[in-house]
């Protein structure tokens, strides 16, 4: 039992991992055929992976409705939303636009999905302003440096800010866009590069651990 529960999966990860890794260094046709097959298979497996999220969402809301838990009425709207899109997709045969204009699917994208998904993230703008006021604390020299860089960027990205900069600091001869350009291309690159290299090696090491079966927490417990 341990063999099929644990060792074969670990062998799969090792074999696919090593073969895929090696294919980077091997130009032979065999290696290309291998990677092409893997690509197709991978594409299919991933298309199923999203069902995980779907099923767990359905489960949890179905349970809420079945148990009449607090606010179970709202859970019905999860299914309403889902069915609206799926049915309109079925009716329109998966096409969003025909020569006659929007199909029902295109319509539900434009007026339902678009509005909901756009607004969810737009709400964050409000939290940014309140964070700016209530918790942006210039409490150290480091935070001050952060603030100065942020200040210049926020100011210089809009025309009105550029005008203000020119009025106040125009005499220095450096336009705010040049200063932003410099910040983004010199010190910010240095900072980002430093973090990036470290994190990227971290990812490589984690990948090695996964291939060699040292890291297997993603498999869950026995």
């Amino acid at each position: 039992m341990k063999l099929i529960k644990k060792q074969i999966p670990l062998a799969i990860v090792f074999i696919t991992g090593v073969f895929t890794l090696v294919s980077y260094y091997v130009p032979n046709k065999t290696s290309i055929d291998y990677i092409e097959t893997m690509n197709k298979w991978q594409n299919i497996v991933v298309a199923f992976a999203f069902l995980l999220g779907l099923v767990s969402l359905f489960f949890s809301h179905y349970h809420k409705i079945a148990r009449k838990a607090d606010g179970w009425g709202y859970s019905i709207f999860v299914f309403v939303g889902f069915l609206t899109i799926v049915i309109s997709a079925y009716v329109s045969g998966g096409r969003q636009m025909t020569d006659a204009g929007l199909t029902p699917l295109g319509w539900s994208f434009k007026y339902i999905y678009n509005a909901l998904s756009g607004t969810m993230f737009a709400v964050l703008a409000f939290y940014i302003v309140s964070t700016a006021y209530r918790s942006f604390r210039i409490k150290s020299l480091q935070a001050f440096v952060l603030f100065v860089a942020a200040f210049i960027l926020i100011l210089g990205k809009v025309p009105l800010g550029q005008i203000i900069w020119d009025l106040a600091l125009g005499w220095t001869g450096a336009g705010v866009d040049q200063v932003i350009e410099w910040i983004m291309q010199v010190p910010a690159v240095a900072g980002k590069r430093g973090i990036m290299i470290g994190i990227s090696i971290g990812a490589i090491v984690t990948s090695l651990k996964i291939i060699f079966g040292i890291e297997k927490q993603y498999m869950g417990k026995d």
Binding site: S130, Y133, F136
Partner: protein
């Protein structure tokens, strides 16, 4: 006394601040201020230059991977890029790896193809959404028909005039990825570097600073960042759109943030040292 009042003021109910923002953003939408964007970042003009120098008929691959949640920033950008490509008579292929972007792509091409009198299958092709980006990218290096046999409407792509002579990355002159996700990193790492195809990008302002290193090494042949970038590109192709009007509306809101940070910190200083 003043101290207490200040303290109270610094703990103001945040909904007042929300209201303030709503007003500063809504008013310019209804009544535009009319300050156009003047400056153009070098990275943006590099994208422009790279498209501009392509001979007519070159095949450009657009990877449009953004959904409605980043639409205000990225849609104007993508629109401007496609307009530019059409005006230069380039052949355009579109791929996407974000399920939510298919609707936006349809909308974009329905609108822009009319402006330039371009037809589906002849001047551009929209390939269907694919879920697993890495697999598709790797596949396209040898034979893209291995994965894309049909376009999004189920029409065979092999016979399309737009795909003539296009089989893999070697036949593409440029790849432009517009995204709010890490998909541009994938294009750089798994395609641009590996198969030496020029890759340019358009990203949200949030991820823009992160691409500095790739720009400096020329792994990225240009980058359009956020709504400002969209406005810049619109002014490069001389077709003002949503980017230009957006940047105008953001004027006051940007200053509001700065004012708020300064006010709260000054209040704190006063409380501390008074």
């Amino acid at each position: 006394m003043l101290k207490e009042q200040l303290q109270k003021f610094s703990r103001i109910d945040r909904r007042w601040i929300f209201l303030l923002l709503a007003i500063t953003l809504l008013v310019p939408i209804i009544k535009p201020i009319g300050l156009p964007n003047k400056t153009i970042a070098e990275a943006t003009s590099r994208v422009y230059g790279n498209i501009e120098k392509l001979p007519a008929g070159s095949f450009v691959l657009f990877s449009l991977d953004y959904d409605p949640s980043t639409r205000p920033e990225l849609h104007p950008m993508a629109t401007a890029l496609v307009r530019h490509a059409f005006s230069r008579n380039l052949r355009v292929g579109v791929v996407t790896y974000i399920a939510g972007s298919t609707g936006l792509i349809e909308e974009l091409f329905a609108r822009v193809s009319k402006e330039y009198n371009k037809s589906d299958g002849k001047d551009y092709v929209i390939l269907p959404y694919m879920p697993n980006i890495l697999a598709v990218m790797t596949q396209m290096s040898s034979d893209l028909y291995g994965i894309y046999t049909k376009d999004r409407n189920g029409i065979d792509v092999r016979g399309m005039p737009v795909m003539k002579g296009v089989k893999n990355y070697k036949d593409m002159s440029l790849i432009v990825c517009v995204t709010g996700t890490a998909i541009l990193d994938y294009w750089v790492a798994f395609v641009g570097d590996k198969y030496s195809v020029p890759v340019a990008g358009g990203v949200t302002a949030i991820s823009q600073p992160g691409y500095g290193p790739y720009l400096q090494t020329n792994q990225l042949k240009g980058l359009i960042g956020g709504m400002k970038g969209a406005a810049e590109y619109e002014s490069l192709i001389k077709q003002p759109g949503k980017g230009t009007s957006g940047i105008d509306a953001l004027n006051l809101a940007h200053l509001l943030v700065l004012a708020l940070i300064l006010t709260s910190n000054i209040i704190l200083l006063i409380i501390k040292y008074l």
